[in-house]
């Protein structure tokens, strides 16, 4: 569609101040540059199709006529299963009636929680780099994102001392997302305990996006809400997209104290009403009978993680070992290119798509995000092409 300059002007004049403050995601520009020969390491989703038993459960639910709205909180059976799963994994007990809400993916969860807890001028502390939606969610809620630089040297973890330096009377919450997209970083229990201590002493809420909770390799996973005293001040966001390869189903959940869930529900009921019922039915099956599939996928990601990490290091890029999600985040500083130049030239010259780190924040500059949720032959071919490209630069 061609938009005339006059139309453009009208649209601009009618844009809200809040929406003017945010930019479209830097990832969009790659769509126009793609040719059939391109190997994409730029995809932020599993390369598995949703396991068949989960798909079949959704088909069955359609056959049975489950095509209607659900409770604003989500279907009771799914809330009960989520509650059981959180208890099984972390020993956490959430009341499925009052402390859980089913959302349209974690993306809606982030939006809901920010709108539910933020007043204009409130500050939310988060890492730089971080997932692309965090800053806009805070900005659109009238809040101010406060960024804490993280770096490769510290494996992109969030130091409690740096968080504390940025706390003032306007600070409302800490937003963390580990395992991290884009870096693949995982926080240790000790590191999270230090953040918990800061949150307690400063009476902060903690929004913990744990969508990658099951995709962790060779290290212990700690759920933030399971730390002593943290359940009462944590909004735990989780979902099915990554663990069960269910990105397109758009089902997630938020677990939090009843008062916060109630406020999130108020926004949810007027904006989305409910997550799609077939997705919710599929999610029930995922939780009941999906564990083997999770284990199988995690194993497969781990194999590919190791191959990509070694491959990136072999071609001369420095990369810390990512312990979660499905991303490597190597430094490309020694090539002398910016991350955007690196990505664009790699795509044009060698037909490999990686995502420039600066799209995830200033501190992502000098890095590119390489997703290993693609086939092993693709990973090997992409590494070969990247090797050729990098050898021309260093």
């Amino acid at each position: 569609m061609v938009i005339s300059s006059k139309q453009n002007k009208i649209h601009k004049n009618h844009a809200s101040q809040r929406v003017r403050q945010i930019s479209p995601s830097g990832i969009r520009k790659y769509f126009d540059l793609i040719s059939p020969d391109v190997i994409s390491l730029g995809i932020g989703e599993p390369d598995f199709t949703t396991p068949w038993n989960i798909r079949e459960a959704a088909i069955y639910s359609l056959e049975k006529g489950f095509t209607m709205y659900t409770s604003n909180y989500g279907i009771p059976e799914l809330r009960e299963e989520v509650s059981r799963e959180l208890e099984r994994l972390y020993g956490l007990r959430y009341d499925p009636k009052t402390e859980l809400i089913i959302t349209v993916g974690v993306s809606e969860g982030v939006d809901l929680v920010m709108r539910a807890i933020i007043d204009p001028g409130d500050e939310v502390i988060m890492t730089d780099p971080c997932y692309v939606a965090y800053q806009p969610a805070v900005t659109l809620s009238g809040g101010i994102p406060v960024l804490v630089p993280t770096d490769q040297e510290h494996e992109f973890t969030l130091p409690a001392s740096e968080v504390e330096k940025r706390i003032n009377s306007n600070t409302r919450a800490l937003l963390i997302g580990y395992p991290s997209n884009p870096t693949g970083a995982v926080m240790t229990r000790e590191g999270l305990l230090q953040l918990a201590d800061v949150a307690r002493r400063n009476d902060l809420l903690v929004v913990s996006d744990e969508i990658y909770n099951r995709l962790v390799y060779g290290v212990e996973y700690t759920c933030f809400a399971a730390l002593p005293g943290m359940k009462e001040r944590t909004i735990l966001l989780g979902g099915f997209s990554k663990s069960y390869a269910m990105t397109g189903w758009r089902v997630g959940f938020a677990a939090a104290p009843a008062g916060i869930i109630e406020n999130m529900m108020k926004i949810h009921q007027y904006t989305t009403m409910c997550a799609p019922i077939m997705g919710q039915m599929a999610a029930v099956e995922a939780l009941k009978h999906g564990e083997d599939s999770v284990q199988e996928m995690v194993e497969s990601y781990d194999w590919r993680r190791r191959v990509m990490l070694k491959g990136l290091r072999d071609i001369g890029l420095t990369c810390f070992e990512p312990r979660g999600a499905f991303y490597c985040f190597p430094s490309i500083k020694k090539t002398g290119l910016t991350s955007e130049e690196f990505s664009e030239r790699l795509l044009k010259e060698e037909q490999v798509l990686v995502i420039h780190g600066s799209t995830f924040g200033k501190c992502g500059e000098g890095h590119v995000r390489c997703c290993y949720a693609t086939s092993m032959p693709n990973i090997e071919k992409a590494l070969e092409r990247m090797g050729r490209f990098v050898s021309r630069l260093i």
């Binding site: 990832i27 769509f31 730029g42 995809i43 989703e45 692309v132 194993e299 194999w303 191959v307």
Partner: protein
């Protein structure tokens, strides 16, 4: 012991998916050294945990005239040896690809491969049915293979993922 078994399983799973994966790559994938991987494989080959390396071939793409039949076999088990003796007798025929003892209305399920329907028919009537302790057979000729050893032979699903996503 448990960790050792887990490590070995990890290596075997990789080989089961692709028997051509070189030890160096398995080492990278598992975090083991190349020698550790080689030792695990050697041990598994020696104790027959790894029975054989083979290739799944879709012969229909080669225009091959191969015919396969699944045959249900009802037998009379013998004292002391149960079904083992008759199973051994059957699997020794080279045209028999697999033999399974199964529960249900018959005892053995066997897969037989031949060049023509007649060839398999002759095997069933002349060799199989005439064996002592065979009570009866039901032969099903295979019309099309959809999935073999966990591999879909004619995948119907395409990769519809976006080329880039957040």
């Amino acid at each position: 012991m448990e960790a050792k078994a887990k490590t070995m399983k990890n290596v075997l799973k990789i080989l089961e998916k692709d028997a051509r994966t070189p030890p160096e790559k398995i080492a990278t994938m598992t975090g083991l050294s190349r020698d550790e991987v080689a030792n695990i494989i050697a041990q598994a080959e020696k104790d027959k945990t790894i029975v054989k390396y083979k290739t799944i071939v879709d012969w229909s793409r080669m225009g091959d005239d191969q015919v396969m039949a699944l045959i249900e076999v009802k037998t009379v088990p013998r004292r002391d040896v149960g079904f083992d003796a008759i199973a051994e007798r059957i699997y020794s025929f080279p045209q028999v690809h697999s033999v399974y003892l199964v529960s249900g209305t018959y005892d053995l399920q066997i897969q037989v491969v031949g060049k023509t329907i007649q060839e398999i028919g002759e095997f069933v009537s002349e060799k199989l049915s005439t064996l002592d302790s065979i009570q009866g057979t039901v032969t099903h000729f295979l019309l099309k293979k959809y999935k073999e050893d966990g591999e879909v032979l004619h995948p119907g699903e395409k990769n519809n993922r976006l080329v880039a996503s957040p």
